[in-house]
């Protein structure tokens, strides 16, 4: 139960949200309580209803007051207009009547009849009770529509129109008097007077009952009455006759509503118990006053206000009713529910959650009931869970006990193991200090520990034997080292002897080498000289070869010259023969020319003959003579030409003869030249032969020289070879000397090493001596090792 209590309370708090409702604008006193909230809301509603009712009342009252004022002034306006119309009509009527001629010049009876007829025939406006014909001078009524007035002295009666006769500006003027009473009639009278036109001292008087007039006008609305006042504020018509002539109260009222009123204007005056509408007449200085009862006028307004108050009260009653019943029962239900929820929050899940309500509260109760059953289930679950947890805890405790027992065992084992470990550790430490004879006790609770012990013992056994072996080995090494040292010293001495011998050999070889180098230089010179000779011989050989070649060329040129000359000789002979043939031809041409000359001669003769003939023939033969002349001319020309040719042939013949002679001499000279050239050729051939012989000799010299040079070079090469061999010998002797030195040094190193080795062996031996080894168990192996070494 207690497990679920906290979250349950929390949940209820969440559901109700009570502590978190702090951001409300309402004061906490109101905000904390639903009743206060509801009361505030209802109070607000009531205030709104009252305020709104007051506003409506004020508005309605104002509207109604305006209506009353408008109605009242409208009424007074209407009544004033009616009265005005009546008065105007009456005055016009008086005027009209006064103009009637009968009143100016008619007899007494005629006037009387007329007046009676006016009333009887209702020719006058309403409420005109009598019409008089008056003598204005003494105020006597001379005639009247009412017989009672005839002969009555109006002055005596106190009628104002007689006691205070008005002045008329003309016959159309009228006068309205103030009210007065006469004994003959029982009501106040207002007289309207107009003078009779055309009859001085006579006037027509209308006597009117203004009271009746006013009453007939005012009888238009119940609860109101009408009065009329004149310009001085005195009543001239009032329902209460005693008031007539008295001054109206309103005339002295503040602001003088009566005096400030212009013609046709209206005003509204509100008294304590009366409302008055005032309207001034247009045509006369009278004011109509409509009096209305205040209570009666405002009855509607009062009724409306009363009803409004009633309505407001009913609304307030209903609001209170709602608040008390619905609000009250809601609050009660909420309180019950919240007390039950609190009881449930306190852990009492058996509270009663029944309700007869079927509204939201019923649902809420149902929801709480469901919640409760769910809670019960959850609590049951929680308890089951707790029991499970407790059993789990018990199991855990059992397990812990077991674990602790195991841990104790483990601790025992662990301490035993620690003991064994320290034991092992001691043994191993003594082993490390050199005592290899110690062994551990392998008896242990732990098989693994026992195994470790056995292993340690085995290891120590192995170590002991190994150390013993090493000690023997060190002894052996020491012996060997000593021997090596002795031997090495011996070898060192031998090496030094070798080194000295080699140095001597080196010196000899060096000297030999120097001498060979001198020989070689001389042989070089010799060889160079031989080569120089050979080169000179070759040069000579080349020169002789060139000479032989030139000789050969010369012989060939000579032979060519001979051939040329032979050819020229042949050509010359040919030319000579041709020239001879030419000469023959020229001879023949000469013959032909001679023939031609003969012919010309004959022609010329013929022409001469012809001319002679022509001369003979005389005149008729002139033409013939001309031809003959012509032929003669031609014959002469031809003759000249033939002679020319002849001359030329002669000249050519002579020239050809010269040429032939020249040719013959040339041929001779050529023949001589050929002989000379042939001699030259012979000389050249001889020279060539000599030259070739010289060349052969030189070649032989050259060969000999070359051979000599080769021989010198061979010698040189041999010397070079000897020199290099001796140098090599010296170098090798040097190398051998170095090697001998190296050997000597190496042997010293060996000696040092052997010494060092022995020192180390001594160290080892001293180290190994620290180990205590069981001598008895190791003698055999030591002996074997020693013998094995030897």
């Amino acid at each position: 139960m207690k497990i679920a209590e906290e979250p349950f309370t929390q949940r209820l708090t969440d559901i109700y949200g009570m502590p978190t409702d702090r951001d409300s604008v309402l004061p906490s006193v109101v905000g904390d309580r639903y009743a206060a909230r509801l009361g505030l809301a209802l109070a607000f509603a009531m205030v709104v209803v009252v305020a709104f009712g007051a506003v409506i009342s004020a508005q309605a009252s104002a509207t109604l007051a305006e209506d009353v004022e408008r109605d009242t002034t409208a009424l007074s306006d209407t009544q004033a207009a009616q009265l005005d119309g009546w008065l105007t009509t009456a005055r016009r009527d008086v005027r009209t009547t006064s103009r009637l001629s009968v009143f100016a010049d008619g007899s007494q009876s005629a006037v009387q009849n007329r007046l009676t007829g006016l009333i009887a025939n209702e020719e006058v406006p309403p409420d005109v009770v009598a019409v008089h014909y008056v003598d204005t001078a003494n105020g006597t009524i001379l005639a009247s529509s009412n017989d009672q007035f005839v002969g009555v002295n109006a002055t005596e009666q106190g009628a104002p129109f007689a006691t205070d006769p008005p002045e008329f500006s003309g016959p159309d003027d009228t006068h309205v008097t103030d009210p007065f009473t006469v004994s003959v009639v029982d009501h106040p009278i207002i007289a309207i007077v107009s003078p009779v036109a055309g009859s001085e001292g006579r006037a027509i008087v209308y006597m009117t009952d203004l009271e009746a007039r006013a009453e007939s006008i005012s009888n238009q609305r119940a609860g109101s009455y009408t009065t009329v006042v004149n310009g001085e504020g005195e009543f001239i018509a009032h329902p209460n006759r005693s008031r007539i002539g008295t001054t109206a109260a309103v005339a002295n009222a503040d602001g003088d509503p009566l005096g400030s009123l212009n013609a046709s204007e209206s005003a509204f005056v509100e008294g304590d118990s009366m409302l008055m509408g005032l309207s001034r007449l247009d045509s006369h200085d009278w004011v109509v006053m409509v009096h209305a009862d205040r209570d009666q006028a405002y009855a509607l307004s009062d009724q409306i206000n009363s009803d409004l108050v009633g309505l407001i009260l009913l609304a307030v009653i209903n609001l209170g009713l709602v608040g008390v019943t619905i609000g009250g029962s809601t609050i009660a239900s909420l309180r019950r529910l919240s007390s039950k929820a609190e009881a449930m929050a306190g852990g009492d899940l058996d509270v009663d959650l029944e309700t007869a309500r079927s509204d939201e509260f019923g649902t809420l109760y149902g929801a709480f009931d469901n919640m409760r059953s769910n809670l019960r289930a959850e609590i049951a679950d929680a308890e089951a869970a707790r029991e499970e947890a407790e059993s789990a805890k018990r199991e855990a405790q059992d397990a812990r006990t077991e674990v602790e027992a195991e841990r104790n065992e483990m601790q025992a084992l662990s301490s035993h193991l620690e003991l064994k470990a320290s034991e092992y550790s001691r043994t191993l430490e003594s082993a490390a200090d050199g005592d290899l004879t110690a062994r551990v006790d392998t008896e242990s609770m732990s098989d693994a520990m026992a195994e470790v012990g056995r292993e340690i013992n085995a290891t120590l056994d192995a170590l002991e034997s190994t150390i013993a072996d090493m000690q023997d080995f060190a002894d052996n090494v020491m012996g060997a080292s000593d021997r090596v040292e002795t031997n090495a010293e011996r070898v060192g001495m031998a090496s030094q002897q070798v080194s000295r011998s080699i140095e001597e050999i080196f010196d000899g070889a060096t000297e030999q080498s120097e001498r060979l180098q001198d020989g070689s230089a001389e042989m070089d010179n010799l060889s160079a000289t031989a080569q120089q000779v050979a080169a000179s011989a070759q040069e000579v050989a080349h020169t002789s070869e060139a000479a032989a070649e030139v000789g050969e060329d010369g012989r060939e040129a000579a032979q060519n010259a001979i051939a040329e000359m032979s050819a020229i000789d042949d050509e010359t002979a040919e030319t000579v023969s041709e020239i001879n043939a030419l000469e023959d031809d020229l001879d023949e041409i000469g013959d032909i020319v001679s023939v031609i000359a003969n012919i010309v001669e004959q022609t010329n003769m013929l022409a001469l003959n012809a001319s002679i003939e022509a001369a003979h023939a005389d005149r008729g033969g002139d033409g013939f003579a001309v031809v003959a002349d012509e032929i003669k001319g031609l014959a002469e020309e031809t003759k000249a030409a033939a002679e020319d040719i002849e001359d030329r042939i002669v000249r050519i013949q002579s020239q050809a003869g010269d040429t032939v002679e020249t040719m013959e001499s040339t041929s001779e000279r050529i023949s001589e030249g050929v002989e000379t050239v042939e001699e030259t050729v012979d000389a050249l051939e001889t020279m060539v032969e000599y030259t070739e012989e010289v060349d052969t000799g030189i070649q032989e010299i050259d060969h000999a020289t070359e051979e000599q040079a080769r021989t010198a070079q061979d010698v040189q090469a041999t010397i070079d070879e000897l020199s290099s061999i001796s140098q090599q010998t010296a170098a090798e002797a040097d190398t051998v000397a170095g090697a001998a030195d190296d050997q000597s040094a190496s042997i010293e190193t060996v000696t040092d090493s052997a010494r060092e080795l022995r020192d180390r062996a001594e160290d080892l031996e001293s180290v190994l001596e620290q180990f205590e080894v069981d001598e008895g168990g190791l003698d055999d192996t030591t002996g074997a090792a020693a013998t094995g070494d030897d």
Binding site: S306, V309, L313, L314, V316, I317, G320, L321, V324, A356
Partner: protein, 234 residues
């Protein structure tokens, strides 16, 4: 006057209906509470008689310029003390307190009648006395009697007491307002309207009081036996 008679007739009908309803409830409430339940039935019952007389035009006197219905005051003089008596009994207040309660309530009505009949300053003085007496009633109902109810009653019973007490106090508070606004006081409300309001108030308070109690009894009876026993035991 026809209007006011109409209101009185409607009031008569309302009271008749309420009386009938409560009379029917008599058979439904637990046996043990029936005797006291009769008080609840008697309240509208008396009102029925009063309204009958009003409808018939009996019992109206002139109270200095306005009509005062004497019958109405007689009605109130009888019924309102019965109301508070019932509350006192319900709350199981001690006798002295109950007597004080009933006496103060009777005084309230008496001063109210005096104020209605009188005029001028005297009327207001009597009205003030009546108001003071009613304040005493209210203080008792919220103080001693309420404490007694909390001590003596179960949750549901106390709740019923609170509801009935609030109902009475809130609705009765309207009566003096009506008195003030009506003809006897400021005269803002005419007699007819005031009568209408009072008729409605009368019907609601008299019948409503009984109906709430009846409903509570029926609910309690059906809800839990324990609550019912707790209430019926007294």
């Amino acid at each position: 006057m026809t209007t006011i008679t109409t209101w009185f007739t409607l009031g008569l009908l309302g009271e008749l209906l309420g009386t009938a309803l409560l009379a029917y409830g008599y058979s439904l409430v637990p046996e043990a509470t029936r005797k006291r339940y009769l008080l609840l039935v008697s309240i509208p019952g008396i009102a029925v008689v009063a309204y009958l007389l009003l409808v018939l035009g009996v019992g109206a006197v002139d109270g200095g310029g306005h009509t005062v219905y004497v019958v109405r005051y007689v009605d109130w003089l009888l019924t309102t003390p019965i109301n508070v008596l019932y509350l006192g009994l319900l709350a199981q207040a001690d006798r002295e307190t109950i007597v004080k309660l009933v006496g103060l309530q009777a005084l309230t009505i008496g001063f109210g009648f005096g104020g209605a009949v009188a005029s001028g300053a005297l009327a207001y003085a009597l009205f003030a006395l009546g108001t003071a007496a009613f304040a005493g009633v209210v203080s008792l109902l919220y103080g001693e009697v309420a404490d007694a109810a909390v001590v003596a009653l179960s949750d549901v019973g106390a709740s019923l007491y609170r509801t009935l007490r609030n109902f009475v106090v809130v609705l009765w508070s309207v009566y003096p307002v009506v008195w003030l606004l009506g003809a006897a006081g400021l005269g803002v409300m005419d007699v007819e309207t005031a009568s209408l309001v009072i008729v409605y108030l009368d019907v609601v308070t008299k019948v409503g009081f009984g109906v709430i109690a009846l409903h509570a009894w029926l609910t309690m009876d059906s809800v839990t036996a324990s609550d019912g026993i707790a209430v019926t035991a007294d």
